[in-house]
Symmetry: C2
Amino acid sequence: MRDVAALAGVGIKTVSRVINNEPNVTAATIAKVRAAAERLDFHPDLNAGNLRRSDRKTRTLGLVVGSVANPFSGAIHRGVEDTAVARGIAVFASSLDDDVTREERIVTEMLRRRVDALILTTVRKNQSSLVPEQARGTVLVFVDREPAGIEADIVVTNNAEAAGEATAHLIAGGHRKLAYLGDRRELWTAQERRRGFLEQLGTVGIPTRDIPIIEELHSEDAAYDATLALLRGRDRPTAIFASQNLVTIGVIRALRELELQRTVALVGFDDIPLGDMLEPGVTVVAQNPYEMGRRAAELAFARLDGAAPEAARHVIPSRLIMRGSGEIPPTAAS
Amino acid sequence: MRDVAALAGVGIKTVSRVINNEPNVTAATIAKVRAAAERLDFHPDLNAGNLRRSDRKTRTLGLVVGSVANPFSGAIHRGVEDTAVARGIAVFASSLDDDVTREERIVTEMLRRRVDALILTTVRKNQSSLVPEQARGTVLVFVDREPAGIEADIVVTNNAEAAGEATAHLIAGGHRKLAYLGDRRELWTAQERRRGFLEQLGTVGIPTRDIPIIEELHSEDAAYDATLALLRGRDRPTAIFASQNLVTIGVIRALRELELQRTVALVGFDDIPLGDMLEPGVTVVAQNPYEMGRRAAELAFARLDGAAPEAARHVIPSRLIMRGSGEIPPTAAS
DNA sequence: CTGAAAGCGCTAACAG
DNA sequence: CTGTTAGCGCTTTCAG
């Protein structure tokens, strides 16, 4: 910047004014500075500027999601990005892998870089360690999973309700012998979906103890193995509720392996790619991850702009999409 | 940091030493400083440090991909991230949408933030504007698509060769009436795949003028519409080559719409989720985007570590996966 | 309308 | 082993 000032024959502050489109500079001066900047291929250093700038903002946002390779996370990311890019905010994205240590490392790295806001999917059960950071002005928004020990905006799906709806759908189809395949119990979403499932059974008076609840399934392979075991056992369920996209895919593979995909009903939580093209189509409760990301980013920006409403919980509704697998009737033969 | 020094009763430089694990500090002093830092919940400001640090590195990397919501991009991103996170490097990720204006904006924003390296998928045909930036020390690595007007490391798939292999596979299956559905012609990958396809036809002496070459398909919907038109026309092809994942999906939808998925052969470039679970399974040329991302990041880091080999082109091989759709024999009836 | 001086939070270089 | 001084590239403040 000094070089530009020298070349243009003006003071350094004038260059700063031109670069930042501040008023009170003659058109002629602007032109001179612009030319000099162009010739030196000058790009202002945002980090240096932020150091002194009074608002102390870095125009940077941190996003922590399950895995950037998972389409669910990708959609959240895109929602955040679309909102951020419109405001010239850059996004640091990082994968959590539902690993507590990793979460800590990532969050620390982002705080070191002084992100203005942190949008995060969390695995830690307690987020109170972030309270001081929040007090310091970093905006926190939690997405997909609810945190504890902290007051902050939260954007989630109607997990329990939607899981209940899916379960009711199977029951309405005549199923009584259901099975639940779930993710890690420590995850808030998994707990909520399980609760929605079980409460629905209670509503219609199906005794819970007869229903297999298989949890801790965190990958396609784990779900596949668990499903094979379940279907090969005696008293096979006539319908399966899968609590998450990877689990749903594992179940589908297992059903096909045993050629039961037209025999055993399936409803998955979270949509899966090409779910409508499989045979039968996969009935799912489709979340709206793009909208979740968009909303989370908007909430963050509203606070950065000075709004200070009470922290709230924002629910993005999901919806049941019937495509065939959830409409398979129960078979008498178990 | 001043506050920490005051609280610990030491000089500010000593705090800096402790925070950065520099040698020559007594264990006792370290403990005092750590305690003070803990109590004030101190996180060093990386941007401020970088300003003075002699290596002038921000430990930050910029990644520009097609769209963070596309699984192909997601896999590249994950490959980059896994390599970066191991070194404490944070990743800015941004979506290009194959829009030239957007690319320029994103790159500028990242340069303003002084990323150490830029890994990018590009749409611009000429990247010479980045030459000065590169001279200044920013490491550039191009991934997926080849740039022009600049010397830099490049990581790509063996596009032409793999497209040729896929085409040869269809021809070996007895097909003569092929059709090519491609992405925007301006994209380097699209040109390469088209070339591979056409050259293969030439090898076996199939006259190109009889082969429908439909291009500029940039979305699932565009591919769907184009395929419907193609299949409803007279002299319907017996096999389709789809040059990209979204195009492949569009073709699949159209084939199903006309109930031709078991009649017309299909090979897609780039794998698609659940491609093995469809009926028939989708034969594809599967790229290895994760490995592309990983390799690109490694090349970037090698240069950041001081290596200065000649810029090279690195080819990550893709492989043909036969799952059924590409093995459908030609039908006499057109 | 323009520029000189001070200082953001930190590290480099050197002196104790 | 520890502290002091200067200064990274920029914005702020305030004086021309």
